[in-house]
């Protein structure tokens, strides 16, 4: 299948490993990934901060970039949530009904990674290998805007070597919320403190999620604590494979540690 990658501005700029892993994973599963070069940002930050007028040009750009493709995937529940639940409304607010209906068309073909794998590609075992103790944080927008449900967990349960541990109070927000983390920094920090407490209680090596933004928040807090727990995007775990025995070369996705993250600690 030909799949267009909606990389998201955050993964493109700060977390390219998550996007690269998405590419490797889908190619390993036998699909062709294309990257529409005109894409930049979905405009969610503008919309959620009160600037839908400024977001309009970004919505238009996004729709133009992705309208030609039958299947679009993003390694972000939050950005897919914006495409699905906000883009048409931004267009309608500006009186552009034509753009709104095109945005709805794009939204219908846009999937978060776990949705794409399970609902469209019909796989739960992606052949991954990841020998670590992992806990999963179901990010708010994946959980409540997209209703991805237990799809990420079903994918993680099939990963060889992975020890999945349940996160207490998993469904509570980590406190990111885009500009909320800046405008209400104290409250955001209090929410983050509780999330980190729960992550540490699992004694996991790795906290994973389907959103780079929430992982940036949780990872930023854990890094400050020097807690020894890493945040790794779901795509990176699913892209990891068992090292090929002597004679063969190590696959691109494994071993599992992202070098830039390692260097930081």
């Amino acid at each position: 299948m030909r799949i267009a990658l909606f990389v998201t501005c955050l993964a493109d700029t700060l977390f390219p490993e998550a996007a690269k892993a998405t590419v490797r994973l889908l190619e390993r599963l036998g699909h062709q990934v294309v990257f529409p070069a005109d894409q930049t940002c979905c405009g969610q930050m503008h919309i959620n901060t009160g600037y839908p007028d400024d977001a309009l040009r970004l919505v238009r750009r996004h729709v133009q970039a992705f309208a030609p493709y039958d299947v679009v995937v993003a390694p972000s529940g939050s950005c897919v949530g914006s495409v699905r639940h906000q883009h048409a409304a931004v267009a309608r607010r500006a009186g552009d009904e034509r753009l709104a209906s095109r945005a709805e068309q794009v939204a219908r073909h846009t999937y978060e990674l776990s949705e794409l794998l399970i609902d469209v590609l019909g796989v739960t075992d992606v052949g991954a290998y990841y020998p670590h103790r992992v806990t999963y944080h179901p990010t708010c927008h994946s959980l409540r805007m997209l209703r991805v449900g237990d799809r990420p967990l079903r994918l993680l349960r099939e990963v060889r070597g992975l020890d999945l541990v349940e996160l207490p109070d998993a469904e509570q927000c980590c406190g990111f919320g885009g500009t909320f983390a800046v405008k209400n920094a104290d409250t955001s920090t209090a929410m983050l403190a509780d999330k980190m407490r729960h992550v540490l209680a699992t004694r996991a090596d790795v906290c994973t999620a389907g959103d780079a933004s929430c992982l940036m928040h949780i990872g930023g807090g854990l890094s400050r604590l020097r807690a020894g727990v890493r945040t790794v995007h779901l795509a990176e775990i699913l892209a990891s494979t068992e090292p090929v025995p002597a004679g063969g070369s190590t696959s691109e996705g494994g071993p599992v540690r992202a070098p830039d993250r390692e260097a930081r600690r």
């Binding site: 700029t13 390219p16 901060t49 009160g50 600037y51 970004l58 409304a89 209400n184 400050r224």
Partner: protein, 485 residues
């Protein structure tokens, strides 16, 4: 935008009532967050209610259908609110009640004060009512020499402790049993000095304290949970029996009701009497619900006055997106699931309507500029929308009100805010891929990773590290990979 036109939707006036806080949410929240006892109390209480509510909602096979029905009834109500209010007025009047219309808090307070004076009373007993909290009725009555006595246990705790309510359903949620005992020992005349902090003992103390008030007070003031337009029936949902006392024992009953509380037909009560208790106190049914229609000869108050309150509701109705905030049945489920409320408590919101519903209702009642920080007091996690028994899409209304705030600020100021300039610049850059790629490279070169960013971003680096910029953006990697293959 203070100019008003007669007959055009109007916001609630300033200087009266309790819809505006003294300081922005982040400032008030910071103080609340520093109170460890408050956070323990809130965590315990909201955790308890979440578990109870989930259990009894789980028993209802048609909960999604009931929520949809609740939303449909409320949407229908708002679409023909003027007609339904006229119908309600006619039905109440036909049943022996008197209907009064109050355009705002000032007028409502004056109407109620005059009615109490006309009844020759200098003391009234009150059933917990958000509408009378909203308009500052107690303050107005005290200024007129009339003593209001709150009879709901939590309201009594707040009144005796000279405190402010912090939750829609349980105004004293910020107090634990030990603190309540202290308030009773200090403020309740004749209380047993050996009073324990067992909830049952505290409830019994309130029973003894208020018994004589119930039997001797001639006028009561209540709110209303529902008013049925077709029959003129009013309903009050409660637990303790203080509501029954106030609705049954006095000679005169005055009910102050926000105009959005009307429902079209009798059958509609069947939906809300299932939604409300399970979503609010986590009970299959609350202990007592009273329904009355005008005056019943020989049973209960023989004079009944209904005060229909606008106080900004017409302005809410005028907002196509925001008007769904009027669907609220004041259950508090959104407060109980909100991660922000759980940590800051209700006082940080300033208004008597705290939590997620308060963050969408208060700014609309007062005008967004007078509660401008509230639409931002949310991480948009969406837990409130899922919990709402009438499916109010609170996150979408919050985002909408942020846009209203930005637009109103833009209209009122000649120079754009720094944020607006940054947002416009970011949108322009992101709409030009070459500029965008250049900006990405600049971010990488700048290596803004580390521990301290300048304001306003220092809110982030106070407690979190910024990720190191990777050596290469995704699009650089993609381009290289393409050229290699």
């Amino acid at each position: 935008m203070t100019e008003t036109f007669l007959g055009m939707p109007a916001t609630a006036p300033a200087g009266v009532g309790n819809l505006r806080g003294d300081e922005p949410f982040p400032v008030a929240a910071r103080r609340a967050l520093a109170d460890a006892q408050l956070r323990r109390n809130l965590r315990h209480a909201t955790g308890t209610i979440r578990a109870k509510s989930a259990a009894v909602i789980g028993e209802v096979p048609d909960w999604p259908e009931l929520r949809a029905a609740g939303r449909a009834i409320k949407s229908d109500t708002m679409a023909r609110l003027p007609e339904l209010l006229e119908q309600l007025e006619a039905a109440v009047t036909a049943a022996g009640g008197t209907v009064h219309w109050a355009a705002d808090a000032v007028e409502a307070n004056r109407i109620v004060t005059d009615l109490i004076r006309a009844a020759g009373a200098d003391r009234v007993m009150k059933v917990k009512s958000m509408a009378t909290q909203e308009i500052g009725l107690n303050e107005a009555l005290e200024a007129a020499g009339i003593t209001p006595v709150e009879t709901d246990l939590a309201e009594l705790i707040v009144q005796l402790g000279r405190d402010r309510p912090s939750h829609i359903l349980v105004p004293a949620i910020h107090r634990n049993r030990a603190e309540i005992r202290e308030v009773f020992l200090r403020e309740m005349p004749g209380v047993d000095p050996a009073l324990s902090d067992e909830p049952a003992a505290l409830a019994a103390a309130a029973r003894r304290h208020l018994r004589e008030t119930f039997l001797s007070t001639r006028v009561a003031v209540s709110g209303a949970n529902f008013a049925v337009a077709e029959t003129g029936t009013l309903a009050v949902v409660e637990s303790e029996g203080n509501g029954r006392m106030c609705l049954t024992l006095p000679e005169t009953l005055i009910t102050v009701m926000g105009i959005e509380k009307v429902v079209p037909s009798w059958d509609d009560l069947a939906v809300f009497l299932q939604l409300l208790p399970r979503a609010s106190t986590g009970e299959r049914m609350n202990p007592y619900t009273s329904m009355w229609t005008g005056v019943t000869p020989g049973d209960g108050p023989q004079a009944f006055h209904l005060v229909l309150l606008d106080n900004g509701r017409s302005a809410v109705l005028a907002d196509e997106v925001g008007r769904q905030a009027l669907h609220c049945i004041r259950c508090s489920a959104c407060l109980n699931v909100c991660p922000v409320y759980e940590r800051t408590g209700g006082h940080a919101y300033g208004s008597v309507y705290p939590g997620p519903i308060g963050a969408v209702l208060s700014p609309q009642l007062t005008g967004v500029e007078e509660n401008a920080s509230l639409p931002y007091a949310s991480s948009l996690c969406g837990a409130c929308f899922d919990a709402c028994p009438v499916m109010i899409d609170i996150p979408s209304v919050l985002v909408h009100l942020r846009a209203r705030h930005v637009a109103e600020r833009r209209a009122a100021h000649r120079t754009p805010s720094a944020e607006a300039v940054a947002m416009a610049a970011a949108a322009y850059t992101m709409d030009h891929p070459r500029l965008y790629a250049a900006a990405q490279r600049a971010a990488g070169l700048g290596r803004l990773a580390g521990r301290a960013l300048p304001p306003p971003l220092n809110g982030w680096t106070a407690s979190r590290d910024v990720p190191a910029a990777p050596p290469q953006t995704f699009r650089q990697w993609w381009a290289e990979r393409r050229s290699e293959s």
